[in-house]
């Protein structure tokens, strides 16, 4: 289908390994071919255009007062065709990146420089990889939402699916754009859609507050990204990926980084990845900017699944993967990414352990898993990060949608103390089984789950990369916590004695509450996602010999490649860097590349596998039900009573602190929000008293004058005539006197 003959792309050339040892010649070669990336077929624009079309159609339906499920079917069809188009794009991809030009967008020429940012799309394996799960999940979740949102048929239904389509469009722009400005456009677009959908229930104050919080916290990150984009243009003179990644300056920096000579790279260039990193932390909810994501659960559950678990929050991972060559030029960026990801993973896992709202638990686990992805990026395994993005997208969407089915069926009930034995209830079997699949994946049970393989790639890399063993151990510990809190939810809500209290949305007191089990759309989506989560295991085995599975082969052909000379360069640099430190003092906590004397991958399979099983057993012991239905060691006989209650008391205030999210929100409130609010009040009063006072004074003076002179307009005609005649007389007298005096003189 691609009939254009592609000229050799510089990136592909660098990947074949010949360029590793060639310095200046490779660079000059790269320059001559910089602008020669082939063009692709125009039908690829369907992937962008269809979601936009569905948005416009949903707006039209709203105007026409549609009260059917038509918006949902339109969105499912649009996203579905976009997914098929993405599949065709994947099938017909021959290994060389190409661009598809939609229209000229920004072209500013000044002097010798020019700023070019066209509305065009850069297609390489990384783009295809990301778009496959974005469009695929969008289709499935739109189908799910068709049933989930059916209480709101009418204008709100159209509004939901309008924003949904706009989100898919923005995400496609973000992932497929061929320059950083397109990425920024999509970045802000998904932020907007996130805001609109979190605040979907705009009559609920918590939802409005959560939407504002998400938007404002993201502004901090977006400022970083914007500054990074400006700095990229200022320093490299281009925003287009094809030109940027073959820029001789950038290649020169990577050569310097390869030998650990970071002094040769100007500080301004090293700032670019740090700024991008801030943007990624905001969008992907990393410490310290993660606080918006748990609150974002106020939105409808399909939104939480699609935007706040599977796709949008991985935009930060995509940004770093896409601009990985730039990240390699900074001495500090990737280590910071690794450490921030690790801290986030641990911190949010501890919070998730103490929450009672199952959707919040899933939200914190999303933050935690995103931390794993960032750790993977920082540990130079973009493949591990990207594979974890993919498996996480499937199983976390599944978990959210299963929780959403429970919430939908039990009138908004999300408290795990008030629900029990849901899987045994009539009509809830599919939810129970698929939820179990999702929980096993999130916990990372060895060999039988895809989440295990993707997590293992990151964990092993922590021990392979010298100096990062500490991160590895923290992440293994977090994995045990993850298994515990995941199965805590499962054992509390889905098995055990049957018990259910309706949530706030049940207002009809005349009738006894009856949970309504999910319909065909929800069940179909849950089964599909459960199958996808399991089938993703096979992706770890495809192409295993050369790369790290299918994800590895996709990533290694893109700019995010770990095996590319770029990543190799930083890898060497890191080794040398660490060795230099090793002379000064002890840095490595374990011998690099080994765990307990085994090679890192085997060691991690054993350690993390046992850790996951241990976590599940702990959860079963403390939260599991009693009797044959649950595991033999569980002791829970009532919905709200479990062994953990008495154990938690022994820890003193710690469980309460974790339940209150370690008071991070309160700390932010005290050190950031309150001072800012006080300052804004001060400026408000300055504005009100000083600025408005001056303006009002100028308005008041004429009124005062008028008030003084007003009585003279008496309404008596003769009065005016007398004053006129009198005035003229006085004037004449004055003139006379002057003339007489003049004459006398």
């Amino acid at each position: 289908m691609i009939n254009t003959t592609f000229l050799t792309n510089t990136l592909a050339m660098l990947q074949d390994g010949h360029a590793v040892d060639t310095h200046a010649p490779a660079v000059s070669h790269a320059v001559s071919q910089a602008s020669e990336v082939g063009t692709g077929p125009k039908w690829i624009l369907l992937i962008i255009g269809l979601p936009m079309l569905t948005t416009l159609l949903c707006g039209l339906y709203a105007m026409l007062g549609n009260k059917t499920k038509l918006p949902a079917w339109t969105t499912v069809a649009g996203a579905g065709i976009a997914f098929i188009a993405t599949l065709v794009m994947y099938m017909s991809f021959d290994g060389t990146p190409y661009t598809v030009h939609a229209f000229d967008w920004i072209q500013i020429h000044f002097g010798e420089k020019s700023m070019v940012a066209n509305f065009s799309f850069y297609i390489d394996t990384l783009t295809i990889y990301w778009m496959l799960f974005v469009t695929g999940l969008a289709t499935l979740i739109a189908l799910y939402a068709s049933e989930y949102m059916s209480h709101d048929l009418g204008t709100s239904y159209c509004r939901f699916f309008g924003a949904f389509g706009l989100f898919v469009f923005s995400m496609a722009c973000l992932v497929m754009g061929d320059n950083l400005l397109m990425l920024y456009l999509g970045w802000e677009g998904v932020g907007l859609c996130s805001y609109l959908l979190i605040g979907y229930f705009y009559k609920k104050p918590e939802a409005v507050a959560a939407a504002k919080k998400a938007f404002i916290v993201n502004r901090i990150g977006d400022l970083g990204l914007a500054l990074g984009v400006y700095l990229t243009f200022v320093h490299f003179g281009t925003l287009e990926y094809a030109v940027l990644f073959s820029d001789p300056t950038l290649l020169g920096y990577i050569e310097s980084a390869k030998v650990g000579n970071f002094e040769a790279i100007p500080a301004i260039a090293q700032w670019i990845p740090l700024l991008f990193m801030v943007g990624a932390f905001g969008k992907s909810a990393q410490f310290p900017l993660y606080v918006w994501l748990p609150d974002a659960m106020e939105g409808p559950t399909p939104v939480s699944a699609l935007i706040h678990a599977a796709t949008m929050v991985t935009a930060g991972v995509y940004l770093i993967a896409r601009t990985y060559p730039v990240f390699l030029t900074s001495e500090h960026a990737l280590p910071i990414v690794a450490w921030v990801g690790t801290i986030t993973a641990l911190l949010s896992a501890t919070i998730a352990m103490a929450q009672f709202d199952i959707k919040r638990i899933m939200a914190y686990s999303t933050v935690s898993q995103l931390g794993y992805m960032f750790a993977g990026l920082g540990l130079l395994t973009t493949t591990g990060a990207a594979f974890h993005v993919l498996t996480h997208a499937f199983f976390k969407a599944l978990l959210f949608l299963a929780c959403g089915a429970v919430m939908h069926g039990f009138a908004g009930q999300l408290d795990l103390r008030k629900l029990s034995g849901v899987a045994w209830m009539k009509g809830w079997g599919i939810v129970g089984v698929t939820m179990l699949v999702g929980c096993m994946n999130l916990a990372g049970l060895p060999y039988i789950t895809s989440g295990f393989y993707s997590k293992d790639m990151i964990l092993a890399e922590a021990f392979i990369t010298p100096g990062y063993a500490m991160i590895g151990w923290i992440l293994v510990f977090t994995a045990i916590l993850t298994a515990y809190y995941t199965f805590r939810v499962y054992f509390r809500v889905f098995v055990g004695p049957e018990h259910a209290e309706p949530g706030d949305e049940h207002h009809d007191d005349d009738h006894e509450f009856h949970p309504h089990p999910p319909g065909w759309a929800i069940n179909t989506v849950l089964i599909t996602l459960a199958c996808a989560s399991m089938l993703a295991i096979s992706l770890a085995y495809i192409d295993k010999a050369e790369h790290h599975g299918w994800a590895g082969s996709m990533i290694s052909q893109s700019t995010a490649s770990f095996h590319s000379p770029y990543a190799e360069a930083a890898h060497h640099a890191h080794i040398e860097h660490t060795e230099m430190h090793a002379v000064d003092g002890p840095v490595g906590h374990a011998a690099p590349g080994t765990v307990f004397g085994m090679d890192a991958h085997t060691g991690m399979i054993i350690v993390s596998g046992l850790g996951a099983i241990f976590g599940v057993l702990v959860a079963a012991f403390f939260h599991g039900p009693k009797g044959w239905q649950g595991l033999f060691l569980g002791g829970r006989t009532e919905a709200a009573k479990c062994r953990m209650d008495s154990v938690a008391k022994r820890f003193g205030p710690i469980p309460k602190m974790a339940e209150n999210k370690w008071y991070v929100d309160e700390i932010y409130m005290a050190i950031l929000v309150t001072p800012l609010r006080i300052i804004s009040h001060i400026f408000h009063w300055i504005d009100k008293l000083l600025i408005d006072g001056l303006v009002n004074l100028f308005g008041f003076l004429p009124r005062l004058l008028a008030w003084i002179l007003k009585p003279s307009q008496s309404g008596v005609l003769q009065g005016y005539a007398v004053s006129m005649a009198g005035g003229v007389t006085i004037l004449l007298l004055v003139v006379f006197v002057i003339i007489l005096q003049g004459g006398a003189a």
């Binding site: 002179l709 007003k710 009585p711 003279s712 307009q713 008496s714 309404g715 008596v716 005609l717 003769q718 005539a721 007398v722 005649a725």
Partner: protein, 120 residues
């Protein structure tokens, strides 16, 4: 020389003999008297039509003064100006009387006092 007549000579031809006893001051006195009568009438009367007539009287007093000055300086300017003033006065009379009719229809009286509420 004879056939080249200046404007002054023309004026003298138009008014071959002036009345020697009537001087400039007489004309101005009559004019001033008319003006003062009009002014007093305007200030003392309440009837809008009478007030309007008084303004006309003041107008004509000014016109008379203009003609007198024109004759005094032996020019046609003063008379020309008065023709214009008469035109304007005619138009203004039409307007003012229409206005008076409208005001009368509102209050059923011609008294200017009736419009006292138009104050500041």
């Amino acid at each position: 020389m004879d056939h080249l007549l200046h404007s002054t000579q023309l004026a003298q031809l138009a008014f071959p003999e002036a009345v020697p006893a009537v001087t400039m001051a007489h004309y101005l006195f009559v004019s001033a008297a008319m003006f003062v009568m009009g002014l007093i009438g305007f200030l003392t009367r309440r009837n809008m039509i009478v007030m309007f007539l008084c303004t006309e009287l003041m107008f004509q007093a000014a016109g008379l003064a203009l003609i007198a000055f024109g004759r005094h300086h032996l020019g046609a300017d003063g008379q020309t100006f008065v023709i214009f003033v008469l035109c304007v006065a005619a138009a203004e009379a039409a307007m003012a009387l229409a206005l008076v009719v409208l005001l009368f229809r509102h209050k059923e009286t011609l008294s200017a006092q009736a419009w006292k509420e138009l104050n500041g």
